[in-house]
């Protein structure tokens, strides 16, 4: 992998991990479109990807640092007390814990087989279009419930436990290359009556432990035989991915105060259709 490819992949990963457009889908489709000879099963490439994820997770922790400090304190307080209270931070902290369980279990058991089975450009293109449909359907029902029928939005801390698990479960759809983690969890958040701002905030908070833990678990790969040669690329790749992720989350938190998912849906639909056509023509594989 050349330096230019490493820089491009790092920025692509940092941006597409948080924008609801599927980072996994893009890291399959973009190298295929540009005819980069990237072997996705090569240990050096896997190690590189691990560091990009770590950079993204650190960026999320830095962006939500005050919130994370409050959430961890609330979590520890409730454990020490041995009882759950109705305090806002405590409720959100435990919602994040229960929401992370499904994706943790499914991720450990299904990630590798799903990636091996569906890791081609054609599948990624199809799932990218399905990702678009998920966002359009989510927006359609949100509009019907809240704008046409006047149903009020729910605050994040008012979410029920089962709803927290459901949003976490939706996040697991991102195991399919082309389905966006943030897109699926924001749509699930909208389905349980959160507004865009709270759904996005819950999605980004929920992503942090999952991305961070997945990266930390895979970190020993960096020291596996021969992979140390990409240490420099991984280092600046991780930093670039982190900067891109920080800027993305800063933009998206402002964006979702007034806007919805539809522009991302149109992008996924058009890009997915284009890649599927190119795949059918044999231009990409």
């Amino acid at each position: 992998m050349s330096d230019l490819q490493a820089i491009s992949l790092a920025i692509l990963q940092g941006v597409s991990e948080l924008f609801p457009v599927s980072s996994l889908g893009h890291t399959i489709l973009v190298p295929a479109l540009l005819h980069w000879s990237v072997n996705r099963r090569d240990p050096t490439f896997l190690a590189f990807v691990v560091v990009l994820h770590l950079g993204t997770a650190i960026a999320l922790v830095v962006f939500y640092r005050r919130e994370w400090v409050a959430l961890v304190r609330a979590l520890v307080r409730s454990i020490m007390r041995g009882r759950l209270s109705d305090e806002r931070d405590e409720r959100i902290a435990w919602l994040l814990v229960v929401g992370s369980i499904p994706v943790g279990i499914l991720g450990v058991y299904l990630e590798s087989p799903v990636r091996n089975l569906l890791g081609s450009a054609a599948y990624a293109s199809i799932f990218l279009m399905i990702n678009a449909l998920i966002m359009f359907v989510g927006e359609f029902f949100r509009k019907r419930q809240h704008e046409d029928r006047g149903k009020r939005y729910k605050r994040l801390e008012a979410m029920k436990w089962i709803e927290g698990v459901a949003v976490g479960l939706a996040q697991s759809l991102a195991l399919l290359p082309g389905i966006s983690r943030s897109g699926a969890s924001i749509v699930a958040g909208l389905a349980v009556d959160l507004d865009h701002e709270d759904a996005a905030r819950y999605s980004f908070l929920l992503a942090t432990p999952v991305i961070g833990a997945a990266a930390l678990i895979e970190l020993p790969r960096l020291w596996e035989g021969g992979t140390h040669v990409i240490a420099l690329q991984a280092l600046y790749g991780g930093i670039l991915a982190g900067i891109a992720a920080y800027l993305s989350v800063a933009f998206l938190t402002k964006y979702f105060q007034r806007n919805d998912l539809r522009p991302f849906g149109w992008y996924c639909l058009v890009f997915g259709a284009l890649c599927l056509w190119l795949s059918y023509k044999g231009v990409i594989s």
């Binding site: 007390r81 009882r83 943790g104």
Partner: protein, 62 residues
């Protein structure tokens, strides 16, 4: 509920140790002997079961 949580915690820790030592490899990549991600998953689930046990225990004695 307290004892159910305790049993779940013990089962999770035993499975976690078995994955770590490579005694079991259920649905794990056969290329690796020690399944770190499976170990971490069951260790975390075990800790959460212990937290559940603590919450359940407190509720029983107000």
């Amino acid at each position: 509920m307290k004892y159910v949580a305790l049993v779940i915690a013990i089962v999770c820790f035993v499975i976690a140790i078995c994955y770590a030592l490579g005694v079991i490899g259920w649905f794990a990549d056969p290329a690796h002997k020690h399944h770190v991600s499976h170990f971490v998953l069951f260790a975390v689930l075990g800790i959460l079961a212990l937290v559940w046990m603590r919450f359940a225990g407190e509720r029983a004695t107000p």
